[in-house]
Every structure is written in C-alpha cells, then in structure tokens.
Subunit: 426 residues, 2 copies
C-alpha cells in the first residue's frame, strides 16, 4: 500500500469537502486504487475558526512554510481562491517538486505561464480538473479523450449562478434584480455578485478550456466579456416567441483560422442540448471533427461535487509515474474581434409607415438580411411598439454599424443578443 502525505492550503468549504470525502471514502480508495492519503498539515488563516470538517487541531497551522517545507508532503492541494498569495504558493510548491492540485481557475487563468513553467521546470505534476465545472470531467475530456480531434467549438454554461438566474427569469418571467436577490438568499449568489453576473468567472474558465481545446495559450484578457445585468424579462419573452432560450454562454470557436473566445448572453434554439440545462447545473458542448457533437453535464459547484474532482486528481496524481502536461504551443497570436452569427435585435419603434422600410433598408445596406420579424406590445396611446428581428448569419460589426446609422426619431433603445446553434433549427 502506497502512503502519500498531502498538505492543504486553505480549509473552507471545498477543503472541508475534500477532508470529509477522504475520511468517508478512504477505505474504498485504498481497496480499489491501492493508495492511502494522509493529510499532514492544513494551512488556515485563523486557528480558532469553526470548520465543516474534523481536522485534528495539531494539523492546523497559519504558517505556509509548515506545508511547503514539509518533506513528508508530496502533494499540495490549494483551496485558497484568488490570485495571490495562492499562485505564489503553488509556484513554490511546484518548484520544490511537489505535485499541486487546485480548483483555482482565477489563479490558473491569470498566471498560466508562470505556474506551468514552474511545473515543467521542476518535473512537478499540476492537476486542475476542479477548476472548471466542478464534478464534470471536462479537463480530462479535452486532454485525455479528444486528443485525436480538431476541436471546432466549445460552448458552455460554466457559471451556475447566472444559469440559475436566467432559468428563473425564464420560468417565472421575473426581473433580474428579484431573482438575484432570491439567489443571494439561497446562497447561490455572493453578496457582491460581480464575478458571476458580469462573466468574469466564466471568462477565467473559458481561458483554460480554450487553451486546452486549441493547444495554444488563450490569455484571459483575450476573452470578450459581457454580463447578464442588462437582461430584461422582455428579452427572455421575445426569445421564447422565436423558440429560443437565453443562456450566459462561454464560447470558443475556431473559424477561418481565427479563434473566437467570448462570454455573453446568448440565445440558443430550444432543441439545442444546452437549452434544457437549467437551475445551477453546468454543461459543456463540444464539437470535434471526429467525435462530432458531445455534451458533458453536471454540478459545477458545491463542496462535494468539487471534492469529487479534486480527489480524482489526487488519485490520478498518485498513480502517475510520469506527470503529463497539456500540449500547449505558445500563445494565440490574435483572437477575432468580429464574428458572424444570427442576431436577435429588439428596438422600440414609432408605429408608423416607413419604419420597417428604414430598418430593413439600413440593415440591407450593410449586407445584413432579416430572417424573421415580429411586432410586440404596441401601446395605442404612445404609438410605440417593440420590433424584434432575427437576422440571417451576419458579421457583428456590420450589424452594429447598420444600427448606429438608424433614424433615432424612429427607433430607440436598441438591444442586440447573439444567437448560436444550427441556423436551420432556429
């Protein structure tokens, strides 16, 4: 029986989850995998704080050196979150030849090059399955299962909070603010929800996923990002009328030799596999030239789902005689800042002759053609109505240019939401 000493950096919800899961399943893991894990030291901020697991007091320390310099510890699990000091600690552990296991997408996405350089240079293992989509083995899918594929696209619902909010807005017709407040009460959204609702969290994860999918480092700064705070029940409702479901999607695509990486509210056809992923569930849809269409669905957060991925990394690390590093050659030289897709356009228009001709004329001038149109919510007193269009596939820049040139006397409050998925099914 191989005995492996591990050290924890941090012991909040996730760390406690790992501790409890190891306690609970240690015997099964021993029997099935032939390896025993022993938690040797646990770095915490406060030695007194109450924890969600029963770590023996003598293991607790508030000095990081007690973990990083302990020769009995060969695997360091990082649960601190945030970029610093987590990244520096990981780099120190790797530089000491220790294996690092982390769920920290933020540190990983922000300091990708430094962290990997440390791992490579010192022949140390680095495992991060839990950094994207909790229990879903999406990292392994890209690195260990789809290696023979040219990946065309990765599209994911990779933030549970925003998916919960959009699902509720869709099922109840509720307003963003109300659902957010409800999510905060349920502990599904942070008191400061910015990282989730503005798409930062998804952007970190997309940086990691796209780097693995395209074998070139995609820095998080390259990810175009737009949150869900401006979404209204009317958007959701108009989409429904066209058979579309609204999701915050993280999208990575290779098109015409250029990589697109973007996080933004996106309509997808109701029949798309991602459309039925609701509540706080996550899912990633992959299109590869050999595997075809695939989807991976599950719990993207939570102590136990995340611990499930972390302990699987622990077992993988322990059983690897030689660590594997992802096949990433250099950095992407350029990401696309314009892309082609179907556009959902909604605007407030005066209901009089000439408006439709002005709108369609302007769009046509820029090569944008309309696939379908509806008028909604005409107010007999003001004479205003909502005009909603779906375009055929068109360049986003062209669409924006056309909209900027429209007669402001006739239309205002223009909103664009991108639409993804097979155009024939829209």
């Amino acid at each position: 029986m191989e005995r492996i000493g591990i050290g924890f950096l941090g012991c909040g919800n996730i760390g406690s989850g790992v501790f409890r899961l190891l306690e609970e399943q240690g015997e099964q893991i021993e029997r099935n995998e032939g390896v025993t894990f022993e938690v040797k030291r646990v770095l915490v901020r406060s030695l007194q704080k109450k924890r969600a697991c029963r770590v023996p007091e003598e293991l607790l320390t508030d000095r990081v050196d007690d973990v990083l310099n302990d020769p009995q510890i060969s695997i360091v699990m990082e649960f601190m979150g945030g970029v610093e000091p987590a990244a520096s600690y990981m780099i120190r552990a790797l530089s000491a030849g220790k294996t690092v296991i982390t769920a920290n997408k933020m540190a990983l996405a922000t300091r990708w090059q430094d962290i990997w350089e440390a791992a490579r240079k010192h022949g140390a293992g680095l495992y991060y399955e839990a950094s994207v989509c909790g229990a879903i083995p999406i990292i392994r899918a890209l690195t260990d299962s789809l290696q023979a594929n040219r990946i065309h696209s990765v599209m994911g619902i990779i933030n549970g909070t925003t998916n919960y909010i959009l699902s509720r807005m869709s099922s109840e017709g509720a307003a963003y603010e109300d659902v957010l407040a409800q999510a905060q009460r349920l502990g599904l959204a942070e008191p400061d929800p910015t990282a989730d609702v503005e798409g930062y969290d998804a952007a970190y994860k997309l940086s990691i996923l796209s780097t693995l999918a395209f074998h070139r480092h995609v820095p998080v700064e390259c990810v175009y990002r737009e949150g869900i705070t401006e979404i209204t029940p009317l958007d959701v409702q108009c989409g429904k009328a066209f058979g579309l479901t609204l999701k915050l999607l993280a999208i990575a695509k290779e098109e015409d030799g250029r990589i697109q990486v973007r996080v933004h509210p996106t309509f997808i056809p109701d029949a798309h596999p991602l459309a039925s992923v609701s509540d706080s569930f996550n899912a990633v849809h992959i299109d590869g030239h050999a595997c075809g269409e695939m989807m991976f669905y599950g719990r993207g957060a939570g102590d136990y789902p995340t611990a499930s991925a972390l302990v699987s990394d622990l077992i993988k690390a322990a059983k690897s005689k030689r660590h594997a590093w992802p096949a990433v050659q250099g950095e992407v030289s350029q990401v696309a800042d314009d892309w082609t897709c179907v556009h959902f356009i909604r605007m407030l228009a005066v209901d009089k002759p000439g408006v439709l001709s002005m709108v369609s004329g302007k769009l046509a001038e820029h090569g944008v053609s309309i696939a379908s149109m509806m008028q909604k919510d005409r107010d007999p007193h003001t004479g205003y109505a909502q005009l909603v269009f779906l375009t055929h596939r068109a360049g986003e820049r062209a669409v924006r240019r056309a909209l900027s040139e429209m007669d402001a006397q006739m239309v205002s409050q223009v909103r664009i939401i991108r639409v993804e998925g097979d155009e024939r099914s829209i």
Copy 2:
C-alpha cells in the same frame, strides 16, 4: 519521438476510420503527444476486398500470426467484432505482453474474466473506451474521474438504433415496423435488427458499465432484458399525456445493498436530461454520492466517433508507463429480480360501473397505490376504452401479481412499462 508499431485485427468501417484518422491527425498527435504510430500489419479476411481507407497492400495479411507474432507490434487493435475468434486473438496478444485496444463490447462482456486474467497475468494493457457509447468517454469517467464516489445509479441510452426508432415513433406517431424499415433503409439498423431492438447490444454494454460502477463483475447473463418490438404508438402517446418520454434505458442501480441491472423500455419525465436525447445520440446519466447528477452525451457509433475513442486509447496506452486495471473485486453474488419503481399500466377495459373499483381494489390488495389515471379512446360501439394508470413507487412483483388476479371479463391486453426518474417530477 517515440515510435510505436501497431497491428490491426480487422479493417472494416471502424478499422478504416482509425487508419484514416491516424493518417489525418498523425502530425497533430506527434506534436502534442510526442508519439508516432505506425501501422505494421493489418489482418483481413479477404486480401482483395475494397476498403474505406488506403492501407498499403504489403501490410495486409490473412494470417493472424503475422500480427500476433510480429515483435515490432506492441499494440494490437481489435476491430473484428463478435466473440470468437476475436476474444481468443485478444487473449493471445495479451499473453504475449502486447497491449490490446478494442471496441468489442460483445467479446469483452462475454469473456470479461478470461480477457482480464490474461492482461493481469502478463502485465499487459487493455483499453476499451470505444466499447461503450463510441466517442463518449464514459469508461474514463467511471475509472478515472468518479473514483471517490459511491455510484447510486447509471442510466443510459446506449443503443443508437433503438433511440432513433423510439424518437421517430414519438415525433411522428409512427408504428414500430414502419420506423424500423426506414432505419434499415438509412443504414441505422441492421438487416437483422435483433441485437439492437431486443436489447442484447445494450445488455453487453451495461454489463461493462455496471462492473466498473460497482467494482464487482456483473456478468451479462445477470442483465434483465426486454426489447422494444412490442411498443405501440398508443403507449408512446399515453405516456406523452402524462409528461413522459419513452426510451430504451439500460439501468444499473444499487438499492438496499442489491444491484439491479436491466435493459427495457422505460418512461422518464420530459424534464429529465435523458428525455431530450433523440435520434441516434447516446447519453449516460450517472448519480454519485459526491458528484451528484451527471450526464455524458454524444455519438455512440459511426466510424469517426468510434475512432476518436480508439485513438485516444492508443495515446493513453502509449503514454502509460504502468497500465491500469479496473478495480473489480470478484463477481456480484446476486442481482435483484424484483425492483421498486413507478409503473405505467395500460389496459383495455369494458366501460361499465365497477371496473375502476375492481382494478384499484386489486392493486390496493397488493399494496400498490394509484397516482394518476386517465381514460382514453372510448369506443361508443364496443363500449371498450383504454384505462391508463401511473402508480406510486411499487414493487414490480406486487404489480404483476395484482394484474394477474384481475377479472379477465373486465380488463384485457394489459401492458406495463416501468417509469424511472424523480417521482416528484412525474
């Protein structure tokens, strides 16, 4: 650069797919994974036959020894299908210390013990990701990602042909025979469809999945099996009225310490993630104590999706310094032959007072309670109508006993279809 010689046993659609994928992606694999594969010999039945790939003639042979005895070949890929001679060839290759990669669920399920014994005894690698659900990395999910879980259940749509047939029956209200004929024309069903439509193919795959999920060998003979040939458009339609979708599910569960393994037509709530898996797609739903609910979705068959999994096994095998064998301890001592679930019961009943009281009375006598009921298709001339019930969770044996005791003058043509999924959402 590591160069690895491989030998093919068989070169039909799947073998040709692997050959083409290696030709096409060889360079990417070399660059990313640091390994080159060279096909050294290809065993075929007829040297003259036309093939879907350009194997150089000098590699072809009709003598298996040319592959198995070639010292330059360290990995043997088996694409012959069927139990024999495939199993014997695999065992010979393993006994010679060669790694075996196979998509052959039938040989694997039928000869599990013999094949693994040969692998273990000779320290040889055995990889079989492609044997279940083509491109979907479901084997890896169970062996490499969910090791820390106690798996409660595995439920899958793991046969594409039957899923295509049931999807068409559902969307078009068509009869089984008509859709089968259509599937045969499209090449989605074999001229002799028995293996698919009677659930044999799914049973082989379920034997493999449940063995890995529960860490004990579940012989294929233990799998309860019922095909889809008796399903009528009326069944599908009545299910719809209750918000249920009909699928051929392969189900493995651990309940009350006993393992259930069964393949049969199953209703699931429309909102269940498996319900929207249509056409020839496959998906596997897993419920684990730590990971929670997960689903893996994709192409379960086809030359390229299957080759995607086979080549990923090839890379994994080539990069493994030490092969891993699944953690399986002994054989299951007993599988359940009775189980508890919601039952859909449909019967032809004379439309007169007392029928409902007789039916519900008999059910109650055996502890079966009714959750909902509807009457359908009453014929004013004959006075007969369809009575359709959903029970609360009940033991199947109790349900069958109750039905067998019913007054044959009042009800006939009784059909039972099992219902799975969260009872609250039915």
